[in-house]
Symmetry: C2
Subunit: 296 residues, 2 copies
């Protein structure tokens, strides 16, 4: 399959849906909506929504059914970037080659824009209830799993651990916990929620969850490798940040070659676990392989 064309088509689909779900209305609190837009349309890869649509497709359903869930995931991802970039957190001035939200607006507006995106994600999920008529329980299961993945048991907890680990020696096991919570949980939730929208049975759900978890780990390992080896122009951010901040990374703990080898082996296992899905899971496999060669 032509992955590049597939990703570009899906990205457009997601972008159009996001623009429809979060219109740039000139209401009273226009400034915070502007800031939400600024960060939501900053040129992200839309990886989480695309994974969600691909998982829906893998179980034989129309991927567009998963669009609201996909958009909610991207809103949550974007909120987490805005808050992580704040001076009190990672204190980043650039994101995807543009000023971060608090640099473009101000800190208060950035905090509120993040809060607004997080809240809107859950509101949107509940709003599409009529599309789940007769199977509202599935939609509630999706809201619960996304909430768990995003909250203190997942992303929020992972960011807390990541901040606490800065400048401190941590073990490989601790590093895995941080990343499983901070980025793995939401990536896995993207795959799982797409599968649930598509009507996956429990066996399919288990297989796809397992794929999502391995995908999340490979994503983080390759992200760390990019920080060591990437080019600023291609990444839209400055490489070498992890070392500068004395953040533990997989290449630092294992060596770059061993980290790369591990990522390759994990992705092989993850793809092997999708054997039952046939052709329909080809996009998931292709996105998985792409992680290993990505340059941004």
């Amino acid at each position: 399959m032509d992955l590049k064309a597939y990703l570009s088509e899906r990205r457009d689909l997601v972008n159009r849906a996001l623009a429809a779900y979060l219109p740039r209305v000139r209401g009273p609190a226009f400034r915070v909506v502007e800031a939400m837009h600024y960060s939501l349309f900053a040129g992200g890869k839309r990886l989480r929504p695309i994974l969600c649509l691909a998982a829906c497709e893998a179980v034989g359903a129309d991927p567009t059914e998963a669009l609201p869930v996909a958009c909610a995931l991207e809103m949550i991802h974007t909120y987490s970037l805005i808050h992580d970039d704040l001076p009190a957190m990672d204190d980043d001035d650039l994101r995807r080659g543009r000023p971060t939200c608090h640099k473009q607006f101000d800190e208060a507006t950035a905090i509120l824009a993040g809060d607004g995106l997080l809240t809107e994600a859950f509101r949107l999920l509940a709003e599409v209830a009529p599309r789940f008529a007769g199977r509202e329980a599935v939609l509630l299961e999706i809201i619960e799993l996304i909430g768990r993945a995003a909250g203190y048991q997942g992303m929020v907890g992972g960011q807390m651990l990541d901040l606490q680990a800065e400048g401190r020696h941590i073990t490989l096991k601790e590093l895995e916990t941080i990343h499983r919570m901070k980025t793995g949980a939401l990536l896995t939730a993207a795959v799982r929620s797409g599968a649930l929208v598509g009507g996956a049975d429990r066996h399919q759900l288990t297989s796809l969850t397992d794929f999502g978890e391995k995908f999340g780990l490979v994503f983080q390992i390759t992200d760390d490798l990019l920080d060591v080896e990437g080019e600023a122009a291609e990444m839209g951010k400055t490489p070498g940040q992890d070392e500068k901040r004395r953040k533990a990374t997989y290449p630092a703990l294992l060596g770059a070659e061993a980290a790369r080898e591990w990522a390759r082996a994990l992705m092989e296992q993850a793809i092997a676990g999708l054997a039952d899905f046939g052709e329909r899971a080809e996009p998931l496999r292709a996105i998985g392989r792409y992680l290993l060669v990505r340059r941004s």
Copy 2:
């Protein structure tokens, strides 16, 4: 009715439920859970949860059915206090007589604790789906309305407007918009969601929503009056803050006596609108009357 005993009993009920829903687990991200707890159990009045239970009661249902929704509302209210107190926002050091979350912990932890409470509120709402078996659509309607009340169309938008209005002359109409969004929307959502849990019909829902909206306005007028006339010891915060920050208030725009009179008239109308509910709405009426004489 003995309002004091009623409020105390309901507060205990809510506190026990909150403690059960957010256990102090010693997981990996313990620090953020500690901060969530610190602010959630800082001695709040539990006004939103109590309103929610009372609205459920007013339509003839068992108020304990609304406990998960009541707890989610309190988590959202607490998150908003934590974020509003941040240095980039209102920069407050004291809240309910204790150091604010970012003073007790640090800014990053406070941002994450707020994010964690907001996320957990929605997760909790979805988690209790089995209690709504056969009427999951009602639960989704509740999640949607709370999301709308908390997000950029409600509380988040209201805080944005409030920050933009600081030190600037605003009209009475602008002040009403700010407060309708910043505090009114969530108070109204508390009443509405409780009524929905209790199985309110559309007519009852309209009456109770109208009560909630007037209640929200009276709450804000009396809050402003307290800031002018209150005693620090009773309020757990320093009075005179609004004037110091050059914030527009109802007493400043209307005069204290006219503001008090308006609040009284509004509450009379609000209570008159509950005539159809009989005895069961007595707690709602009593809480409404209490707003006019509260000292904290």
